[in-house]
Every structure is written in structure tokens, then in C-alpha cells.
């Protein structure tokens, strides 16, 4: 049983920080994964020691010592690795109230965002969460309707990953952004929930489709700039300067990236960015998560 509204919250996923931030209750965080929150106030709280560090879900199981010390009303625990399941049981046996979260694992981007209702329920902001999600849904549908009549733009979402390797988005929620924004992903694969949304491909595999790509999400914070310029020479996206990176909201010096936080909560903003990249006449607002990059820039 969880007594709501919860006042002291611990979370080991950056996305849960963003959900709470959107509901205006980020000040209830008493422990987060670590020091790389994109939110300056949360990050500073961790640095100052006012907010505990329990380790990010993608890095390590949560630190139970810290959790016991900060005494949260609820611990939002993302289980990105099933090997962390024993820690979940142990935390519960220690008397911690743990709510496993799987927002980042949802197969659709609206499904991810809808988790805000859980955060609203827990924090006593249920009406605000419902209103926000309805607003997000409405904007998404409006954007999809706006691009429906436009011809699809052949494109790629692939970044260089060192050597002759590229990581390409081929399916899943990320691919859905491309389709819903009026893009034709040249590396589209059949949906399969057992497979990752991205695949690692060689330059040789990218080369034939690169010649057809009119727009390209080429920059990523994990990109390692390629030494070969072969791809750059064949793609219309490079010739026409329609290159974008998903690092629009990054704080390199803090090692903080909103792509791992607010993106999960505000798919309407993300979709608007993709629509702006592919059909710029449809979106007047500035880019948030995406940004235009120059040839040779991959971040």
C-alpha cells in the first residue's frame, strides 16, 4: 500500500525525474541516479549532497544504503536489467516502498508518455497529469494529420559508431516518430518487440540507401565521427544540408542530455521537431531536441 501524495521520492531513471519535473514536483526528489541530470537544480542538489545518489538503472543496481538513509515515501525503480530483480526484493524486505517503472520500455511513444498518469496518481497531481497527457495526445494527432497529405521524405536516422559501423533506427517508437512526421525510413524493418529499435550496420550497407536519403538524423551523443567521407559524398541530405542531430538539449560539460529525460514525457515536442526537420513549413516553433548540423558534424 502506498499512502499518497508521496512527498519524498527516489528514482533511478532519468525519465522519472522528467515526469516529476513536468508535474512541477521535482523538489520532492530525495535521491536520483547520479550527477548527470539535465535539470540544473536537481544536478546541483546532488552535487551539494542535498539529493542522494543511488546509481542510474543503466549503470548499476540501486544503492540500498543511500535509499535507507534518505527514507523515501516511494522508490521509482526502473528495472533495465532483470539481473537487478533480486535488489528489488531486497529493497522491499528492508521496508522500502518500491514501484517498478517501465515507461522507457513501452513500444509506443505515447505509451511512454502516458506513464505520467502514474506519477500524477502518486504525487496527488492526477488531474494535472491527465490534462497534460491529453494535451500531448492532441498535439501529436494534429501533427500527424498535418503531415498526412504531404509526400513522405526519404530519410535515414543513423549515426556513425566507429570504424565502418553505423547505428541505425529501424523500428519501434523511434521509427514511429519518423513515420508520423512524414518521413520514409530507408532502413525500415518489420516491427518485432524482441528486437532492438536500432541495428548496427556497416558503411557498405548504408551506402546504397545513403544515395537516396534527402534528410538524415546523423548526429547523436554516442556518435564517433567517421574518418571516411565516402557516405558524405553520395547523399543528397549532405549536399542539401538537411542534416540533424538529437543533441539539441545537451549539457556536455555536465554530461547531461535531455534526450534521455524529457523526450519520454513530451513526445509532442519530439514529433514537432521531426516534422520541422522534414516539413519545415508545418512547424513554426524552434527546434527543441533536434538541431541542424553542418556537414562533418556528428553531435
Amino acid at each position: 500500500m502506498i499512502r499518497t501524495p508521496v512527498i519524498r521520492i527516489a528514482a533511478n531513471a532519468a525519465s522519472d525525474e522528467a515526469f516529476l519535473g513536468q508535474l512541477g514536483v521535482k523538489d520532492r526528489l530525495v535521491a536520483v541516479g547520479g550527477r548527470v541530470s539535465f535539470d540544473d537544480a536537481v544536478r546541483q542538489g546532488v552535487i551539494d549532497g542535498r539529493i542522494g545518489q543511488i546509481g542510474y538503472n543503466w549503470h548499476a543496481p540501486p544503492n540500498l544504503d543511500v535509499l535507507l538513509a534518505v527514507r523515501p515515501d516511494v522508490f521509482l525503480m526502473r528495472l533495465s536489467d532483470l539481473a537487478q530483480t533480486p535488489v528489488l526484493d531486497r529493497a522491499r524486505r528492508l521496508g522500502l516502498t518500491v514501484v517498478p517503472t517501465f515507461a522507457e520500455d513501452e513500444p509506443t511513444y505515447l505509451g511512454r508518455a502516458e506513464w505520467i498518469r502514474l506519477h500524477g496518481l502518486l504525487t496527488g497531481r492526477e488531474a494535472e497529469a491527465d490534462r497534460l497527457f491529453a494535451q500531448i495526445d492532441m498535439r501529436v494527432q494534429a501533427l500527424k494529420t498535418a503531415v498526412a497529405a504531404r509526400p513522405a521524405v526519404p530519410m535515414l536516422w543513423a549515426y556513425p559508431a566507429g570504424g565502418d559501423r553505423w547505428v541505425a533506427t529501424v523500428r519501434g517508437a523511434e521509427q514511429a516518430y519518423l513515420a508520423d512526421a512524414g518521413g520514409l525510413n530507408l532502413l525500415l524493418r518489420p516491427e518485432d518487440p524482441r528486437q532492438w529499435s536500432s541495428e548496427t550496420l556497416s558503411t557498405e550497407q548504408i551506402l546504397p540507401v545513403a544515395a537516396k536519403a534527402e534528410a538524415w538524423i546523423i548526429g547523436d551523443l554516442h556518435a564517433a565521427p567517421p574518418r571516411s567521407t565516402t557516405i558524405e559524398r553520395v547523399s543528397p541530405a549532405f549536399r542539401d544540408g538537411r542534416l540533424f542531430a538529437n543533441t539539441g538539449r545537451s549539457n556536455l560539460s555536465a554530461n547531461a542530455y535531455d534526450w534521455y529525460q524529457t523526450v519520454f514525457v513530451r513526445p509532442d515536442w519530439v514529433l514537432a521537431d521531426f516534422v520541422k526537420a522534414l516539413h519545415p513549413e508545418l512547424v513554426a516553433e524552434p527546434f527543441r531536441f533536434l538541431k541542424a548540423v553542418d556537414r562533418g558534424v556528428y553531435r
Binding site: 566507429g162 570504424g163 565502418d164 541495428e199 556497416s202 551506402l207 554516442h222 564517433a224 565521427p225
Partner: protein, 342 residues
């Protein structure tokens, strides 16, 4: 006669593996496609781009890189009279890794513009850092070579390697995800990073290293029988050590810089060469070592680039799969290395 036969046989294998490397990949090409690609340089055809722009520089890098690392291992094993000596055990590779990590961290602090200024274009900063790191360790080794014996020098090399690895871990702790990814991409080791313009740097340096190995072959053969014997033949052992270290750096540092820290080639190739040639004479071992190194590196690169469905193997993983059993076999079969047995 045996050397010639072995050399011709290895050269034939090298040609076959090279052709296979040009044909086999995620995009399969026929021999005709390869010939057409080679014959239409600059045409912009897909075959030409795949063969000339992507595969040929990779194949050439594997051939000369494997040969150079094999020779570097031969020089080290001869100098230290230790069958497990190579650029790794001397800390040269770790020095290169440390230099690369240092440049990446500096880039993270100063900004990407720093790398542009340092190198002329982005991406080469890691190469420059690697060369400087390798040189740093090599200079330290060279300075110590005057004061200590060969076994002690080998131990010192190992310690420098551990020190560099520790420093790398500390440095990487302070990088962001982008910078960490750049280091990982280089550190994964691949010949696919090499582009045509790199051969302007790689070619002369490796040629100088090869020349050094050839010139030093005779005194190194004398050194096999011990310092005292070599000195009795007029060899200045201290000077020889420094020259051999210099040649090793010329052979190993450029390859490490452009291709990342390629493992095992330097360690196992000299043993294979000795086994095939049946002689310890360095002059006879040099061609065989170079050819075996080229074949091994190219074969491992070919395995990496086989059209595996959605899987990418790492070069060092393949080399470890080949190299580790060979080294284990070597240890078990060699009476001197086994130790503890009558």
C-alpha cells in the same frame, strides 16, 4: 630454399585472402564486380565506392599493419630474448591508448575546436595523441634501457603499461558520453578506420621501421646468443637496444594510432615464422614474419567483415580466439617456458 618456398606460399595465401576480402562483406561482390570497381575509379559507381573507397584501404591497412606489428613483435622478442615480449608487454600500446584518452579528455575540456587546431581536421586528434603516448613510453623505456638489463626492462615495460591503463581509467571517468564513445571507437581496434590519405603518413614511417629491422637483423641475430657474445662480435648492445626500440616504435606506433591497439599479432606471428622457417636467423625471419602478420591480420579482418546477420565481431576478439590458443600451445610445448618440470 625453405625460406623461398615458405615466402611464395605465404604470398599466394595473401593474394587469395586479399581477393576474398575485396569480394566478401555485407555487400557480396563477384570477382568481376571487384575488377569493374577497380577499373572505374572516380566513376561514382557503387562497386567502385565499395571496393576502392571502403575495402581496398582496409585491406591494405590490414596487410601493412599486420606485417608491421609482426615485425615489431619479432624485434621485441629478439631484443628481450623473451618469447612473450611485444609492443603490448612493453607498454607501448598502453602508452598509445593513454595518449588517445588524454587528447579526448583535453578535447572535452577545451572543446572540439582544440582537436581541429591540433590536427587540421577532426578525428585525427586521437591519432596524434596515440603517437605521442607511444613515443612517451618508448622514450622512458629508451632512457631506462641504458641502466637496466633486458629482463628488468621487460618488467618495467609491463609496469608502465599497467600505469598507463590505470591513468586511462581515471581519465575516462571524467569524459562525457560523446568523448567516451570516440575513445571506445578507436580502442576497439579496426583496420576500417584507415582512409587513403592516411597512407601518406603510414607508408614512410612503416618503411623506415622495416628498413631499421633489416639493417639491425645481423646484430640482433648475434644478440640471440647473449649480450657478452654480441659484444665480442663488436655489437654495441646499449646502442642496439635503443635502435631496436626506435624501429619498434616506427613499426607499432603508426599502426596503433590509425587502427587502434591491435592485440596478439606481435606476440604470435614471430613464433609462427620461426616454426615455418625452422631458423632463428632474423634476416630469414623478417620476410616470413611480415607475410604471416599480413595474412593473420587480414584473415581476422575478413572474419570480422563476414556478412553476419546483425552481428559485428571485434577484431581483437577474433585475434584473441586465434592468438590465445596458440600462445597456450606454445607455453605447453616449450620446455624452457613450461618451467617447473625436469
Amino acid at each position: 630454399m625453405r625460406s623461398l618456398a615458405v615466402g611464395l606460399g605465404l604470398a599466394a595465401v595473401l593474394v587469395i585472402v586479399s581477393l576474398a576480402s575485396l569480394m566478401i562483406g555485407q555487400v557480396m561482390l563477384s570477382a568481376g564486380d571487384v575488377v569493374a570497381g577497380l577499373g572505374s575509379i572516380g566513376s561514382g559507381s557503387m562497386e567502385s565506392r565499395i571496393v576502392v573507397d571502403l575495402r581496398l584501404p582496409r585491406v591494405l591497412a590490414a596487410v601493412i599493419g599486420g606485417a608491421a606489428l609482426g615485425l615489431a613483435g619479432l624485434l621485441m622478442q629478439t631484443l628481450f630474448r623473451n618469447p612473450l615480449a611485444d609492443a603490448w608487454s612493453l607498454g607501448l600500446m598502453a602508452g598509445g591508448q593513454f595518449g588517445a584518452a588524454l587528447v579526448i579528455v583535453a578535447g572535452a575540456i577545451v572543446g572540439p575546436g582544440f582537436l581541429m587546431i591540433l590536427t587540421g581536421f577532426a578525428g585525427l586528434g586521437v591519432v596524434v595523441g596515440s603517437v605521442l603516448g607511444t613515443l612517451g613510453v618508448a622514450l622512458a623505456m629508451s632512457a631506462m634501457a641504458r641502466r637496466v638489463g633486458t629482463v628488468t626492462l621487460l618488467v618495467l615495460g609491463l609496469m608502465l603499461g599497467f600505469l598507463a591503463q590505470g591513468l586511462i581509467s581515471v581519465l575516462l571517468h571524467f569524459t562525457n558520453r560523446s568523448q567516451g564513445r570516440i575513445f571506445a571507437a578507436w580502442n576497439d581496434a579496426t583496420f576500417a578506420n584507415v582512409v587513403w590519405s592516411d597512407f601518406v603518413t603510414l607508408g614512410p614511417l612503416l618503411a623506415l621501421g622495416l628498413l631499421g629491422a633489416v639493417v639491425l637483423a645481423k646484430p640482433l641475430t648475434a644478440l640471440l646468443l647473449g649480450d657478452v657474445y654480441a659484444e665480442s662480435l663488436g655489437v654495441n648492445v646499449h646502442r642496439l637496444r635503443r635502435l631496436v626500440l626506435g624501429a619498434t616504435i616506427l613499426l607499432a606506433a603508426p599502426v596503433t594510432a590509425f587502427c587502434g591497439p591491435v592485440a596478439f599479432v606481435g606476440l604470435i606471428v614471430p613464433h609462427l615464422a620461426r616454426g615455418l622457417i625452422g631458423s632463428a636467423r632474423i634476416g630469414a625471419l623478417i620476410p616470413a614474419t611480415a607475410l604471416i602478420g599480413a595474412v593473420l591480420a587480414l584473415a581476422a579482418d575478413l572474419v570480422v567483415h563476414l556478412p553476419w546477420e546483425q552481428h559485428f565481431l571485434h577484431l581483437n576478439a577474433i585475434l584473441a580466439l586465434i592468438g590465445a590458443p596458440l600462445v597456450i600451445l606454445l607455453l605447453l610445448r616449450s620446455r624452457s617456458l613450461r618451467g617447473g618440470e625436469g
